[in-house]
Symmetry: C2
Subunit: 195 residues, 2 copies
């Protein structure tokens, strides 16, 4: 018990991240870059109309199948009445904003820790514009995706404004979801049959 | 009561969608394309480390602020231990897969209904590859985003394989999340201070 307590006391955290574990991970990836290859996965089942449900559990990373999750995460997509649903869940384009907000935030927190910057608070507000003529195929000159997504970030940290702006620029340039949105990423759909 | 029941009985649904409401919506947007301008929103609060939480409620669309939701949807991003978290929630890149799965599914269901195709079942499995050297800034030649996302779709419907393949191609080309991923969409981050 005493040893455990001592070990626990030795963990140095910055922004909630274990700094030694972070440094160990980065050094391991520098030595063996193939450990950085991750594959994330989701399974989704259509229910009815605009309602469908994803289960997310396994992924591959750091050279192995992850075993850390005993239960799957389950998320329900829905649509509001104006989009022919009954708010069974947030809709897919809203979930995308949640993913983007989280990724920009976590990337900022991670690189702040790597730079020795202590964050006091961080919150974001996102808005994204979509012209649904694209989805409906009413005007083929309209892109069906978001036209633009704007993020207002309120962040307080123990560093100068210049260091903060440099951190935010770096986080934006290195966030996986942000780069999946702002760069073209191929999506390949294959029709299969289990029967 | 009887009148209500009669009105309800008159609703014709295909794939769970009210066909008359769908036709009315499309005709309204054809007459007034500015009704198709939607703005979706999310607010996110950092908690600690890789944990943060979004609330999603209001949006603007069909010419007005939506009033249909009494409570906000709340979603928690987390990270698995191998990424320095404790599975507080799915992580942001996994939520993106959920958003993509849902959007491709709903777009397929919608356009199947518009074509008079009745779907019997639809499920998807998604995998996406990421090289975390990008996120960590260890190799600037590596994109931090997904390299590629692959979707296997198992779909059963009362139409020919040719009609099904045409439907899937159309859905992929018109899905908002799919087009946000496969085309470049600008993300603008602005630092603000509430104080």
């Amino acid at each position: 018990m005493e040893q455990q307590a001592m070990r626990k006391a030795k963990i140095v955290r910055l922004n909630g991240l274990d700094i030694q574990a972070m440094t160990d991970t980065i050094n391991a990836l520098k030595a063996r870059p193939n450990l950085a290859q991750f594959q994330f996965r989701a399974k989704n089942q259509w229910i009815d109309g605009g309602e469908n449900r994803s289960t997310i559990k396994e992924f591959f990373g750091a050279g192995a199948e992850d075993q850390s999750r005993e239960e799957a995460f389950v998320f329900t997509n829905g649509e509001p009445p104006v989009l022919l649903g009954s708010n069974e869940g947030a809709n897919p384009v809203e979930y995308l904003l949640h993913a983007l907000a989280g990724c920009v935030t976590t990337t900022t927190v991670l690189h702040a820790a790597a730079r020795g910057i202590k964050l006091r608070s961080l919150s974001t507000e996102l808005v994204g514009d979509i012209d649904l003529q694209g989805l409906l195929g009413l005007d083929e000159s309209v892109s069906p995706g978001y036209r633009e997504i704007r993020i207002k970030m309120d962040i307080e940290a123990d560093c100068s404004d210049e260091e903060l702006d440099d951190l935010l620029g770096f986080a934006q340039a290195h966030s996986p979801v942000c780069n999946t949105v702002c760069r073209p990423v191929p999506v390949v759909i294959e029709r299969v049959s289990k029967r």
